[in-house]
């Protein structure tokens, strides 16, 4: 089986909402959340998707 999509990173301000295998970045403010997501998107070559206002994931498509 070929996995086409993968979650490369999870960025959140609500630690209790996330978990699992991908690297998790915990931010303290919304600005931090945006900054981390923007940087990680560029670095990882993935797309930053917003699951809720507090949880972003970087997905490789």
């Amino acid at each position: 089986m070929v996995v086409e999509k993968a979650i490369l990173a999870i960025i959140t301000t609500k630690e209790e909402q996330v978990g699992g295998g991908a690297p998790i970045f915990i931010c303290t403010s919304n600005e931090d959340l945006q900054l981390f997501s923007t940087n990680l998107e560029a670095i990882l070559d993935g797309i930053a998707h917003r699951l809720s206002d507090d949880v972003y994931i970087i997905v490789k498509h």
Partner: protein
């Protein structure tokens, strides 16, 4: 008939065939060959095809029936042409910002093979006409076959099967929408602003039930994206996967929502480009032609 008139007949055939190939060999914004060497390869293959077609009639007249078997060699040869085109284009496709997709590539490869057969046919008929009627009717037949070849090569375009309308793009939370069709989730505000600034949305409305199936083909959709990006440019780079032109389908009525990021932001021009995207042979489906629906034999 003497050997000299055969020579002339063959010459007529070969010239007609090679001309047909020259005329049907188009290089435009989307089509390989764009290069001098690509053209030379195809002209040479066209010449070989024309020679094979032209030789068939004199060989038959001289009772050299076994000579006709070389036509099978020709068939193998042209299948190789298709393979060659497919391989080259597939290799090149990896480095396109917006790839053609394999359906489009297959369509191009098929037409390369098909045009060689047209060339052979043109040469065959021209030689036959020369031997039966003489040089003048042969010229007429040569011109007619070239015209026929041209009409065979032009398939229909998207504007024949869909209505194209410009549409607003908007965000609902992180979801990007063209009209009411969901395209993708873009999380970062900055990217959202970029897509709103540089993006354009279009809605393709199918004109009938057959068209719905045809435009739902992912290869056809990729072909639209490729052609638009190749013609109007694309606001995208290798490190920005969030900026990707996409097409999604409205499952309720089969409409397509086209989201593009052109460098040339002219809606009328974009409509024109989308309209002239070829309808890929491999994508065409005709559900209404099914005989069991028409009440005919199964």
């Amino acid at each position: 008939m003497g050997i000299e008139s055969y020579l002339q007949a063959i010459l007529f055939g070969v010239v007609a065939g090679t001309l047909a190939r020259l005329i049907t060999l188009r290089s435009d914004y989307r089509q390989y060959p764009t290069y001098l060497h690509g053209r030379i390869i195809h002209l040479s293959l066209g010449f070989i095809a024309a020679s094979l077609g032209a030789l068939a009639i004199p060989a038959l007249l001289e009772m050299e029936f076994t000579a006709v078997t070389f036509l099978t060699v020709a068939a193998t040869q042209f299948r190789d042409v298709r393979n060659m085109e497919r391989n080259t284009l597939t290799e090149l496709d990896q480095f396109e910002l917006v790839p053609r997709g394999s359906t489009y590539i297959e369509g191009i490869a098929i037409s390369f093979e098909g045009r060689n057969y047209l060339v052979m046919f043109a040469a065959f008929l021209t030689t036959l006409a020369y031997i039966t009627w003489g040089w003048f009717p042969s010229t007429v037949v040569g011109v007619l076959t070239i015209v026929a070849a041209l009409s065979f090569m032009s398939g229909s375009a998207l504007r024949d099967i869909v209505e194209i309308e410009e549409s607003d793009i908007s965000y609902d939370g992180a979801g990007l929408y063209v009209d009411n069709i969901y395209i993708m989730n873009i999380g970062i505000e900055e990217r959202q602003e970029e897509t709103l600034k540089y993006g354009m949305g279009f809605i393709l409305k199918p004109k009938n039930i057959n068209v719905i199936t045809t435009i739902s083909n992912l290869g056809q959709q990729q072909a639209i994206l490729h052609d638009v990006s190749a013609t109007l440019g694309v606001y995208k780079d290798s490190g920005t996967p969030a900026l990707t032109p996409l097409i999604k389908r409205d499952l309720d009525d089969g409409r397509l929502g086209v989201f593009i990021l052109p460098l040339v932001r002219d809606p009328e021009l974009a409509k024109k480009v989308i309209g002239s995207v070829p309808v890929l042979e491999n994508a065409i489906k005709m559900p209404t032609e099914a005989t069991f629906l028409k009440g005919g034999k199964k």
